[in-house]
Subunit: 423 residues, 4 copies
Amino acid sequence: MSSTREAVTGDASVDSLSSRFQAVRGATTALCETLEPEDFVVQSMPDVSPTKWHLAHVTWFFETFVLEPYAEGYRVFDDAFKFLFNSYYYGVGEMHRRPDRGLLSRPTVGTVRRYREHVDCAMGALLQERGEDPEVVARVTLGLNHEEQHQELLLTDIKHVFAQNPLKPAVNPALRPAPAGTASEHRFVAGVAGIREIGAAGHTFAFDNETPRHRVLLAEHALGSRLVTNGEYLAFIEDGGYRDSNLWLSDGWAAVLERGWNRPLYWSEDREREFTLGGERELDRNAPVTHVSYYEADAFARWAGARLPTEAEWELAASDLPVRGNFVETGFWQPVVGRDDEPQLFGDVWEWTSSAYGPYPGFRPLDGALGEYNGKFMCNQMTVRGGSCASATDHLRASYRSFFYPDARWQFLGIRLAKDGAA
Amino acid sequence: MSSTREAVTGDASVDSLSSRFQAVRGATTALCETLEPEDFVVQSMPDVSPTKWHLAHVTWFFETFVLEPYAEGYRVFDDAFKFLFNSYYYGVGEMHRRPDRGLLSRPTVGTVRRYREHVDCAMGALLQERGEDPEVVARVTLGLNHEEQHQELLLTDIKHVFAQNPLKPAVNPALRPAPAGTASEHRFVAGVAGIREIGAAGHTFAFDNETPRHRVLLAEHALGSRLVTNGEYLAFIEDGGYRDSNLWLSDGWAAVLERGWNRPLYWSEDREREFTLGGERELDRNAPVTHVSYYEADAFARWAGARLPTEAEWELAASDLPVRGNFVETGFWQPVVGRDDEPQLFGDVWEWTSSAYGPYPGFRPLDGALGEYNGKFMCNQMTVRGGSCASATDHLRASYRSFFYPDARWQFLGIRLAKDGAA
Amino acid sequence: MSSTREAVTGDASVDSLSSRFQAVRGATTALCETLEPEDFVVQSMPDVSPTKWHLAHVTWFFETFVLEPYAEGYRVFDDAFKFLFNSYYYGVGEMHRRPDRGLLSRPTVGTVRRYREHVDCAMGALLQERGEDPEVVARVTLGLNHEEQHQELLLTDIKHVFAQNPLKPAVNPALRPAPAGTASEHRFVAGVAGIREIGAAGHTFAFDNETPRHRVLLAEHALGSRLVTNGEYLAFIEDGGYRDSNLWLSDGWAAVLERGWNRPLYWSEDREREFTLGGERELDRNAPVTHVSYYEADAFARWAGARLPTEAEWELAASDLPVRGNFVETGFWQPVVGRDDEPQLFGDVWEWTSSAYGPYPGFRPLDGALGEYNGKFMCNQMTVRGGSCASATDHLRASYRSFFYPDARWQFLGIRLAKDGAA
Amino acid sequence: MSSTREAVTGDASVDSLSSRFQAVRGATTALCETLEPEDFVVQSMPDVSPTKWHLAHVTWFFETFVLEPYAEGYRVFDDAFKFLFNSYYYGVGEMHRRPDRGLLSRPTVGTVRRYREHVDCAMGALLQERGEDPEVVARVTLGLNHEEQHQELLLTDIKHVFAQNPLKPAVNPALRPAPAGTASEHRFVAGVAGIREIGAAGHTFAFDNETPRHRVLLAEHALGSRLVTNGEYLAFIEDGGYRDSNLWLSDGWAAVLERGWNRPLYWSEDREREFTLGGERELDRNAPVTHVSYYEADAFARWAGARLPTEAEWELAASDLPVRGNFVETGFWQPVVGRDDEPQLFGDVWEWTSSAYGPYPGFRPLDGALGEYNGKFMCNQMTVRGGSCASATDHLRASYRSFFYPDARWQFLGIRLAKDGAA
């Protein structure tokens, strides 16, 4: 199997890595500024982790995979945290049961903050001393990308927690609404066909699941010029979309019946309002629809006489586009209204593809416990692409593959249409 | 149905009621002094409520049943709390789902404290103004007894929360261990037989389920001179008690198999240590066994060639004994070693009786929503008697009936033996 | 513990016992005459057993508890049947899981019939040879009473099986409807008060749970002159009985919400028809309501301003009445319309009492594995009295105690009202 | 969407179609010759259907999709069967709940046989009259292929039913054991690479999910020369395969832990014997391993340093091979020992591929309710290829795609290895 080091390429001098370390760690902390200590504790479903668990787990990642093997004389902050804050790395040892993360009032938020400081301090020293050791660089870079993934989870998880509360509190009451606007006309744009290459090219950091770069064969097809909007999704609902079994995959229809789905996850029952990180707000019909499952995306596409894109179709369309996001930088954490002037494949909502998440031909996971990062999830999940408004901008790229079970809805998940044949 | 007022008798002058109000409310707050804000949030199973829920619910009780009907011009603190902090009074309105109480990070502990102050302030004024109105007195007295019940639940619930935590934190690290000692020899003492009376006599406060006082017919029997100890329960375990289906009720044996029970709830796997409110401590073999279900108490009794007492047998034995407890006053919140000099029926552990919880002949619940307090639980539960080390001393009396499902173990629940015939 | 023998008294000469053996065994077989082989296989819920399981289990009972210990040289029919047809006697060995009884297509009905013949033949010889041995008499008598209990279960279980079938087949298409009639006026009749005796007097067979006969103390009360009718229960429904939480025990209300109960088990949705052993028929408003849970009986009584009787009240009222039933003899297996001329406490529907099923003072179960017959169920269930239209007439008596969980509805379970004070 | 007709090509003259109709229908009936009426009733898990349900459902298919639309004056056998024997065609109407199929003792086996005769008679007449109508031909052909699929399910379902029975009865006691032999040496054989075509070519019947034929791009790879044997799988087990989380997909490891998997479905606990359609027999170490889930196949491949083939790799390897099977023809219904002289891709066990089941580029399901046949299952399942010893020989072809959830084990499911690069 490949070593961690091979997974990383590009400039990572000591100074820039230290700076980036501080920037990413600081961004995580900044996300919690509006939270009360009580908010850090709750786990609203097994998929959701408490905020303080995220803060501690990403720290555990640096402690376990960087400090313990590379920082001589490093003193572990608390031995019990090995058990409490391991997520799913069996190679490292036993772990606390995922559904029980919300049962822990201790360690307190204060203790978790001290844990972060303890690790940050040791990391600062290590980076000074061994910041050019390629394996250290590779693992720190992986740790920072890992932490950026958890920044997004932290936001989507606390959104889910607050959404369960009948008081409907805002995670960040100061968040501006995303700018209103008019959705451009939806068109189908011819995609790239023939034999092409997808996968990480090796110029920048990439996860192992983006490799190896390889050839794919694409038939003629076309992609939607923009994301499906709330207004269009409303039309689907009003046309009986949730009542017509013919539109649904068999497992999707079972989900509709068993869970009583009849609208996106955070819409109010009257379909007039939507719960956002800034609290409950009027539904913007021109904004991209989000918090829909794969089943809903697939049913919508069938209703619209279209289909969802494959991940290869998506990646080739995105390859030459600039990445954008709105995360902390922009200050509104909702997908924004489609713009006509530029294709918008990044940073609004993850776009469901019709591709089951699996290994690329010749895929080899990282060595050791880090090999559990991505590879062991290559079954039962669907690939999503493009990143969301809660993704750090510098975290995204055309080859990036994320993945969720087809019934997942708590992430910013949306819909781009595709169809066979020329546009 | 009877009015609330009839349920209360005895002295309750304005001053003493105001003082008692402040004392009880203050005692509740004092129980939380060692907790961090994060600790107030967690619900470790549906039977357990978060600490801040208890603090708010007992306050809601005064707001709903005293201030709203009797305090002219009273301003409700927050309308949403009617929904959030109603426990099970359908007569008052809809309520938040019990198993979801742990999903609420808001209102914060600070807000709940302000809620308490708001209500305490209004209650102070009301008691000054209408503190001799018998219905006000009756309802305030009921509210204080209600709050004392929740003091005990608050302690047993937070104990359960902390027991789930692999860090095994102490709820109160300063708690002294209960004094060591030697268990007296266990004897059977002849009980009271013939036609007798049980139930509340009307001299002091009593809940509706203790009424009406009525005649019962008791056969000859004898009761254990003291509670069953940890050491005796260990002997049961070591004799294969948890592996012999003949000792168990059918439903109890199913519980043993399905839940893997093989020791009391808070014993360590090696049976050497016990989790207490003061943290994990060495098991005291002379102390009363506690945190056992009815099924375990019943199986132990069968193994010992005895049975559990009926509630009438217990009440008549307890009728002339002084009540004792160790709650806040004594400063150790564990059952204490049996003493030889005085019968010890109160204030260590609730004692399982063989009596299913039901209505006394002629029972009539309180009027209105308060009638839901006790009566609607008169099915599927077993009566327990005597109060525990977590009960407020002035809250207990011989006629007091509490009740739990036969599989409950998270309360301080213990075992007293009985047998048929003369001692 | 007492021996089996003590549980039985009365005449049981060889001839009469042999005759009775043949009569009871034959009656069981006769119940299945209208069934197809496929009907014998199905288990529609864990409480229900397949018909052929009943036929085999009662046979296993004679084989295990009579033939094996007392018939020298007896050859067991099939060793595997010890495992397959043991119901819940841990003392005898391991057993097939109850919920899996419907997974067995083999042994076939034919093989089970041969099993019955094999055992009947050996029993005939044993009774000739040792039919006056008191322990044999006692165990055979117990076995026959056991088989009569299973006759009733066989009928109620196959009724449940057929009720699940959208074809709504009749168990016995030739069954006459119970005679129509007019319900007499409902009155309350003064019951027996003071110190009295209940329990088996020892003149006839009785199960261990009916002993020992003992004194009870009854307050003044009155009992309904007849069972509650379908028409009266309809009035409860139409008055919103299933929508008013105030009428229900807490656990009952949870059952209403979770299971969507809004009428007795076998009523059609429009409340016009009722599924019977003779197929679906028009609801007879004058017939006793049946197939209601304890929760429903209790809620109905509360709605009616009454309560359910205790088992002592019921037994004393029934003590001097003649037993009647309609089982095989009468040929209609539905409760019949109340008659004015005679109190009707037996043989229509089991009557829910407010008494939790428990041991009488001084109760001792039978010795050995037979001690598992009754005693280990003395928790979480409610006592029912009087027997039903599916009970063998000679099986019933005033002291007879049966018991069901409060949510059970698949038996013929009905309602008699009671109230405190003189009539 | 395409019409049914387009899905069928090739010779289907009236006579041959009538003959084939009779042959296929007769083969179904023949499969049940060794069963008792009781055997036709049981459903041992939701995925399994009772034998008589299969017999009726395939008949319902002809009645609904052929006779009702095309046979003038056709009289439906029983209207209720539309509801009872519809499997999952929402377009046709409501249906009986799948997990409840085992609750139906009626219609009896005899009635189901009469149903078959009624439909066969009408089909005979229709085929005489309109046997050249291309749409009739297409639908009858589809119906026969459908019935052949259910022949296989009938066998695997009744095998599962019998396997639950502690008596371990044989479905067919006369079944010869598959011939013993020696497994050939396992080699990797270079597969076909580059741009190729897969999918149904239109010369013979194919299901819609095999279309359209399309180009695929394959990298260099090699396939195992034969299936993995029981002996090889034993080595995996003995090497701790079921205890090493590193070998497993995350969802697979969860299945291992939750369900306690430690061997293939029908192996005895001591791994010496295997339950077959002919009863329990000694495990043949040279025979192909079967009744393993995708998770187990994938873990085995990882342990072996290999991977599973993609469906394109498999199909290209199989394209020029003759189809073989052993179904009714051969008389043993177990996979047979690998032979050295010919590649053996068909007719032993379905071979798990690493390809998630999804639509081919440009896939269009059949029109109308028949479009529900395959398309709506294109999520969460894995494609399997090659057919099993329970498949009708004339039913299989290289392009055939079947599909199961990754945790399915009750079919004849086995393992062929693959690896990247030249052999």
